[in-house]
């Protein structure tokens, strides 16, 4: 039987900041974005701030209202990346199968007949000693239970979930504690009397299928510990399922022109990344967040795969026109390309007109110039209409959001 570990660095950003500054240890601490750039929200918090009611995503004002003595510190991405790499360095001394799940979580496959608990305790002790932060670990025979084990007891603890004790440990937990059960899935499940993970595990799979589609079957399997997905090799990144970029504008966006400027800058980046990975996409989606923080997400399936900024831009702006009321004040926009297909071996069509092929060749040429002389050396003229909106560089901004668990299915 395989032994799989899931290690989670507790309150990662806040812990690193508290490690570097002993004077804030013991106080409620939140790592917050830059107010000037309108990124003034809570990115992470320590347990003391959490206990006082501070939540990730709160504005700084809301967070201070919830916890008046809150210490807000700026993020240091370089430190987090360094600590994440050092933690992975420790994991890789135990196995060559280390799969990241975001910047602060990893699965480790220790193989057959390993003493998972001893290894987990040793890894936690090393992280505490060498990095000065704490980690919690889950030990189990599959990835899902290992992850649920690391969530079971925090901070600085190891939980083993075996074939014998999973019912006892997990089945009484609320169904929302199950991975992939978000607000809307939870609502549906509770409507049918499934309040705990045990209820979900004992439910009729055909009911779950009717209720949630194939995800229902997946959740039923997970709740019963049926999950044979492998931990990917350290040097083998999980396959890409989608490529996206988003940005919060430095000011509220009202005019159509400004919306277009941002879409073009985002599409340029997404398209360049698609081409870098030799991919095309069949599906384009947009995320629009207004100043009341309401989010609209819409997607469209294209007749044939695309990989240029112009084509993404047409799809994104058409979606926007069809779904977002004019005059709505917009705070942030995002563009995502999914249903990815590799360029090599792609089905050709009779209908590719020459303009499309020439546009792709033009984009390839622009990529070469940009890679030699710096990003945004060659760009679409429209982005010069409002340089303050397009001056961000999505390609240079480091994205560390957890990888979509879509790769898992």
């Amino acid at each position: 039987m395989k032994t799989i570990l899931h290690v989670d660095l507790n309150n990662f950003y806040a812990s690193v900041e508290c490690m570097y500054d002993p004077s804030i240890r013991g106080l409620p601490v939140a790592v917050c974005g830059d107010i000037e750039l309108r990124h003034g929200i809570v990115l992470a918090k320590n347990y003391i701030a959490k206990a006082a009611g501070v939540k990730t995503g709160y504005t700084i004002a809301d967070a201070k209202r919830a916890c008046p003595g809150l210490v807000c510190v700026s993020p240091h991405m370089d430190r987090y990346l360094k600590f994440s790499a050092m933690a992975k360095g420790i994991y890789s001394e135990y196995t060559d199968r280390v799969e990241s799940f975001g910047i602060d979580e990893c699965w480790l496959d220790l193989g057959e007949h390993a003493d998972g608990v001893a290894a987990a305790d040793e890894i936690r002790a090393r992280i505490r000693r060498e990095l000065g932060i704490t980690a919690s670990a889950g030990v189990s025979y599959n990835k899902i239970f290992a992850k649920m084990g690391s969530d079971y007891k925090k901070p600085d603890a190891t939980t083993e979930i075996t074939r014998d004790n999973y019912r006892e440990l997990l089945w009484d937990l609320p169904v929302s504690d199950m991975m992939f059960v978000g607000r809307s899935t939870e609502r549906k499940l509770r409507l049918y009397g499934m309040d705990t993970i045990g209820d979900l595990a004992r439910a009729d799979p055909s009911l779950l299928r009717r209720l949630l589609g194939k995800n229902g079957i997946m959740l039923h399997c997970f709740a019963n510990g049926i999950d044979d997905s492998a931990v990917s090799l350290t040097y083998e990144p999980p396959p890409l399922k989608s490529i996206g970029n988003s940005t919060t504008a430095p000011r509220d966006i009202e005019s159509d022109d400004d919306v277009k400027v941002i879409y073009m800058a985002l599409c340029e980046s997404v398209a360049a990344r698609l081409r870098k990975h030799s991919l095309k996409c069949l599906c384009v989606s947009i995320d629009v967040r207004d100043t009341d923080l309401r989010v609209i997400t819409r997607q469209i399936r294209l007749p044939s795969p695309v990989c240029t900024a112009d084509e993404l831009f047409s799809a994104a702006t058409a979606l926007h026109r069809a779904n977002v009321r004019r005059g709505v004040k917009i705070r942030s926009l995002g563009v995502r390309a999914s249903s990815l297909c590799p360029l090599l071996g792609m089905q050709m069509t009779f209908y590719d007109d020459e303009t499309k092929l020439r546009r792709e060749a033009l984009s390839d040429a622009a990529d070469v110039i940009n890679s030699r002389f710096g990003n945004r050396c060659v760009f679409h003229g429209i982005t010069m209409v409002s340089p303050d909106l397009s001056s961000f560089s999505p390609a240079d901004d480091r994205t560390v959001a957890p990888d979509s668990f879509e790769v898992y299915r």
């Binding site: 490690m19 570097y20 500054d21 002993p22 050092m86 000693r129 060498e130 990095l131 000065g132």
Partner: protein, 80 residues
């Protein structure tokens, strides 16, 4: 109260490129000779707030921790 005190350090490199600190230059002009490096491990300094390679150095009557937090060096200094 312990604070993080950045210091200037002279170090020797052997033929394998292994680094060994030999002298700590303090702010007041004094130099402290490191007689022996007892061990070097990666470690965090929770007292001073830092992380790097921690050298346990004998400087005569006592042992001290000297941290190489790339690219700077620091010691855990007692504040008055």
């Amino acid at each position: 109260m312990i604070k993080k005190l950045y210091v200037s350090v002279s170090a020797e490199f052997d033929t394998d490129g292994k680094m060994r600190p030999s002298l700590i230059h303090l702010e007041d002009g004094r130099d402290v000779k490191i007689k022996k490096v007892k061990n070097a491990v990666r470690a965090a300094s929770l007292k001073a707030g830092g992380q790097g390679v921690r050298f346990l150095c004998n400087i005569g009557k006592q042992d001290i921790y000297l941290f190489y937090e790339e690219p700077r060096w620091f010691i855990e200094s007692y504040e008055d």
